[in-house]
């Protein structure tokens, strides 16, 4: 299994994501100007502040050559994981439904929290963001729930940002593109308190 981690100017979690991927297989960075993803089995779009988050988080990154290649990769069924800013980029690119808005309380939240995965398992991983309030119109949320596209929810009482229906992460209809706000790549070593993050990576291409 060969993993690629996209690096934009302003990415800041690509090294941790690369480390997480390297625990599961071969891994390399994909510079934002690169289009060649043929050697990759899974692509990760990491956290950070791509292109300074100018205009809206993820708005400019979606037009990068690497993201055009990622869109093609995803259209061909390739697994793609977007984390935090990567989730925002995938939503802006239309690869995932919905949008991420400023946290309800306007605060940047950084803490360990509990997520419930679609299979009911509980994961302890950190979240750190100021713009993580998941939004989609009510009808769209109903449809996501009906089609089983809610990949991760904040365990009740743990929602840090006012996300609709406690949604922390979603997947596309075919299930090969997943995005979430919390950071599984920061929870892959007992040193930092939890290795639950690995399960998020494994779910995509372990």
């Amino acid at each position: 299994m060969r993993w690629g981690v996209v690096q934009f100017p302003g990415s800041c979690d690509e090294r941790d994501a690369l480390h997480a991927c390297s625990l599961l297989g071969d891994a390399r960075l994909v510079w934002h100007e690169e289009r060649g993803l043929d050697d990759l089995d899974v692509v990760v779009v990491p956290g950070g502040f791509s292109y300074g988050d100018y205009l809206r988080a993820g708005a400019i990154a979606r037009f990068s050559p690497a993201m055009e290649a990622v869109a093609e990769f995803a259209a061909g069924g390739g697994p793609v994981l977007g984390i935090c800013n990567g989730f925002q980029v995938l939503c802006e690119a239309g690869l995932l439904p919905g949008a991420l808005l400023l946290n309800e309380d306007l605060r940047f939240h950084c803490r360990q929290l509990e997520l419930t995965a679609a299979d009911g398992s509980i994961l302890s991983i950190p979240a750190k963001h100021g713009e993580g309030r998941y939004y989609a119109p009510d009808e769209a949320l109903d449809e996501l729930e009906a089609k089983g596209q809610i990949a991760y929810r904040y365990t009740p009482g743990q929602n840090p940002n006012g996300s609709a229906r406690d949604i922390a992460g979603v997947r596309n209809e075919s299930g090969n593109v997943v995005g979430l706000m919390p950071h599984p790549e920061h929870a892959v070593d007992p040193l930092t308190g939890s290795t639950d993050g690995l399960r998020v990576f494994e779910a995509l291409g372990g």
Binding site: L55, A59, I60, E92, A99, L106, Y135, A136
Partner: protein
């Protein structure tokens, strides 16, 4: 080149915490009776072909899922 101004704001019905924060701060400054504050952003630009500004808004300047936009022509070029 023709100039335009694009006003972008959160769609009606979407919680705008920035607007709320501004609204809550106003009474302390002696400004009573102000409500429904919405904070958005404004983009000024010059366009060779102003007919394309709408497309530009849909694709980049605004996210139509969460934001409304208005295009104002500043001069007719």
């Amino acid at each position: 080149m023709p100039k335009a101004r694009v006003l972008i704001r959160p769609k009606e019905g979407i919680l705008d915490p920035q607007g709320k924060a501004v609204e809550r701060a106003l009474p302390a400054l002696g400004f009573e009776g102000i409500e429904h504050v919405r904070v958005g952003r404004m983009v000024e630009l010059e366009a060779e072909d102003p007919a394309r500004i709408g497309e530009l808004c849909e694709k980049l300047l605004a996210n139509p899922l969460i934001e409304d936009y208005e295009i104002e022509r500043i001069d007719a070029g």
